[in-house]
């Protein structure tokens, strides 16, 4: 087998596995969310389909697939169909550059748990996810529904504003690490200080501020409570996807959860040492454990997401914009300056 064909085969397999795992993860994130929120709210949550409702996501997917797919009569048909795809594809693409495990050895083959380690990985993610705004905005516009339109407008404004502080908060990390490749960023976070504190970026002096701005912007970017204005169901019925049904709605739904997973994965990679964690045991376990640490960190973030959802009320639109522009953006800018000073002083 030539090197090229083995690369092709390996990547294809990795893509298929990652997409399958991702979709499964989304399904079970919804289950997790429903279950956790239910217990926060003294309810049981899904409990009928399967043991503790474990088959509920599958039933939901079947329901979405079998539901009648309606297009409103006045809708702009082409864009209406296109919008969920525009939202979905970039969300799925961004996962490709995230390293989710260390190098593992299967016989003679060496496998890196990352689809591709682009040297501009973080930029790639930002480039690709910004396209997702079009899906939401177009979906809201193409439905020809006033609620959808307002939802679409709100979300385009919101996502564009918060992308700024999101990008700025990442800049500090890049300044400290000096690389754009996510693989290298993770590699740099290996090891410990004084043998106890892991060398994660979160523990590097000004970077916890970046983490704060990053995570707040990320919640806003993924349209989750307390920033879920585009789909504020109590004001805008269901926001930009009011008119969507069946799998088209399912795509938006998938997108939201994939985005949640992606931003959690990026947060893990940039600030929490990626797949780093204590490894021990035989070789195979040493290969698998990083994957486990990576997934648990993501789950911790997801739980935090769900917890906020169960606790907080929602911001108002103007307050959200003010919060973004008057607080988060200046804070991340100041943080960039601070980080540069620290880096310069150390150098």
């Amino acid at each position: 087998m030539s090197e090229f064909s083995s690369f092709l085969l390996g990547t294809t397999i990795k893509c298929i596995v990652v997409i399958a795992v991702l979709i499964g993860a989304v399904a079970y994130t919804t289950w997790l969310e429903r279950k956790v929120v239910a217990h926060l709210q003294i309810r049981w949550g899904p409990s009928r389909v399967g043991w503790h409702g474990l088959l509920q996501p599958i039933a939901d997917v079947l329901k979405l697939l079998l539901k009648e797919d309606m297009t409103p009569g006045q809708a702009s048909k082409f864009l209406y169909v296109l919008a969920p795809l525009i939202a979905f594809v970039p969300a799925a693409l961004s996962i490709t550059v995230i390293p989710f495990g260390n190098v593992a050895h299967f016989g003679s083959q060496t496998v890196r748990f990352q689809i591709t380690d682009l040297n501009v990985g973080i930029l790639f993610i930002f480039a690709v996810t910004s396209v997702g705004v079009y899906g939401v905005a177009l979906g809201g516009w193409a439905s020809n529904n006033k609620y959808s339109l307002m939802g679409g407008l709100r979300s385009s404004a919101q996502m564009i504003s918060y992308e700024l502080s999101l990008g700025l908060s990442v800049v500090s990390v890049l300044l400290v690490t000096g690389t754009l490749s996510l693989g290298q960023i993770v590699d740099l976070q290996g090891g410990r200080w004084f043998g106890i504190i892991p060398k994660w970026n979160i523990f590097v002096f000004p970077l916890f501020i970046s983490f704060f701005t990053y995570f707040v912007s990320a919640i806003a970017e993924t349209n989750r409570l307390p920033f879920d204005l585009p789909e504020a169901e109590n004001e805008l019925v269901a926001g930009f996807h009011t008119e969507y049904s069946s799998m088209k709605f399912g795509m938006f739904f998938l997108t939201e959860y994939i985005n949640m997973i992606t931003v959690s994965a990026i947060a893990t990679t940039l600030f929490f040492g990626g797949w780093h964690g204590p490894t021990f045991g035989p070789l195979w376990l040493r290969g698998i454990l990083p994957l486990f640490w990576f997934v648990s960190k993501i789950v911790a973030f997801l739980l935090f997401y769900i917890w906020t959802r169960g606790t907080l009320p929602r911001f108002r639109y103007d307050q959200l914009m003010a919060f973004g522009w008057k607080f988060l953006v200046p804070l991340s800018l100041a943080n960039v300056v601070l980080t540069s000073l620290v880096v310069a002083w150390r150098a």
Binding site: R43, Y147, F315, Q319
Partner: protein
């Protein structure tokens, strides 16, 4: 190009030339946070509300017309269905109006009065809990809703134990109560009432000092005391503007003068003030129920007034005269004297008035319900105009309206 637009207030088609381009958004009658079938037609400039006109009547069932064809006793179940979150208050308002019409105000035995107070105050708690839950949900906090419903469920269980109905209680009767309350009910309520202040603390932890909640409610939907009186606001919405008017204090009925409680007032007149007033009312109602339970006297539960009040069942089986009275009331219904009365009580949502006109017959000539929600909703337009769409939702929630009562 000149465009034409239908003006909702005047019903005329007008030109929009020279005006800012606005969007008409019909919020409701099917909308998650218009609390039933309210429709608010919003004229929007971007997200700013220029004009808000509530459109009601989607739930109009002609209750007042229907009442004219029923005997005084048969009207009672209709009153449950007006404000379905506070059926006990509606029962009480109607029954007290009939009692006033018959001149029975001073005949009601003490025990019946105390049970009435307990039930009505529990109902106030239940109604405020639904308000709190839905209001918080409108602003995005879902969890409070389920906590509130946990307590409300217990109260509904008490109602069920007392009268068999949870939502449509039809409980009180002219002259007192239909039957003695079950013996285990008092300790059950006592247990609940003991736990309740802790529960209110729980809700408050989630909301009262939450910065997002404060931002969403403070300074939103403000109304001055003067405007509030002019527009007819009543209940907690009025007291949140600083007007200290609670019918339980100012025109006591049912022995409210015997209980010690505070009427919470605020002066801000915004959504947050209304929120604080109602939450404090939860605590005050708890105190009233506590006092009523502690002082619950024994004795008869129905007035001894054979012309208007059903006699005791055992007496009816042994005494000829009583049997005749029973027969007359059951077959013909009661015949109050000719006249008209208006009786107002403090329902959870405000002043609930029943206006009854009797022509001496067994059926009311006219029964009119002055629903607090109907009047309070009039304030919506003043509170919303110039604000954002999200504020409309907050204001509707804070007014605590029930469409059953508005449309009747």
């Amino acid at each position: 190009m000149e465009t034409m637009r239908f003006n909702l207030e005047s019903g005329q088609v007008e030109s929009t030339a020279g005006k800012a381009e606005t969007m008409i958004l019909s919020m409701g009658p099917q909308h998650p946070s218009t609390h039933g079938v309210l429709r608010v037609v919003l004229e929007l400039d971007g997200e700013t509300v220029i004009k808000a006109s509530p459109d009601i009547g989607y739930l109009h069932t002609g209750m007042e017309k229907l009442s004219e064809t029923k005997t005084y006793a048969q009207v009672l179940p209709i009153t449950d269905r007006t404000d379905y979150l506070a059926p006990m208050s509606n029962n009480l308002g109607y029954i007290m109006a009939v009692e006033k019409l018959c001149g029975l105000q001073n005949e009601i035995p003490l025990r019946a009065q105390y049970v009435r107070v307990i039930m009505v105050e529990l109902n106030r708690i239940a109604s405020h809990l639904v308000w709190l839950g839905t209001h918080a949900m409108d602003i995005g906090a879902m969890t409070v809703f389920l906590y509130c419903f946990r307590e409300r469920e217990q109260i509904l269980n008490f109602f069920e134990a007392a009268c068999g109905g949870r939502l449509t209680t039809s409980y009180f009767r002219v002259g007192g109560l239909p039957s003695e309350i079950p013996p285990d009910l008092v300790p059950r309520i006592q247990k609940f009432i003991k736990e309740f202040p802790g529960r209110v603390d729980e809700y408050e932890t989630l909301l009262t000092k939450n910065p997002i909640w404060l931002r969403r409610t403070q300074g939103v939907g403000t109304i001055s005391a003067q405007n509030a009186v002019a527009i007819g606001l009543s209940g907690p919405s009025l007291r949140a503007t600083g007007v200290d008017y609670d019918i339980r204090k100012k025109e006591p009925y049912c022995g409210y003068e015997k209980f010690e409680f505070r009427v919470p007032t605020r002066t801000e007149g915004d959504v947050y003030a209304r929120y604080l007033c109602r939450v404090e009312e939860l605590r005050q109602s708890q105190k009233i129920v506590q006092q009523a339970l502690d002082g619950l006297p024994g004795g008869p539960i129905r007035a001894d007034c054979p012309k208007y009040v059903l006699p005791d069942r055992n007496k009816m089986k042994t005494e000829m005269e009583t049997l005749i009275h029973h027969y007359k009331i059951i077959t013909e219904g009661i015949h109050p004297p000719v006249g008209e009365v208006y009786h107002a009580i403090e329902a959870p949502k405000g002043e609930l008035g029943y206006y009854l006109v009797s022509d001496g017959g067994p059926k009311p000539l006219r029964m009119h319900i002055r629903g607090p929600s109907f009047v309070n909703l009039q304030a919506l337009a003043t509170m919303c105009e110039g604000r954002l769409v999200a504020d409309v939702v907050a204001v509707i929630g804070s007014l605590d309206i029930v469409l059953g009562e508005i449309d009747r």
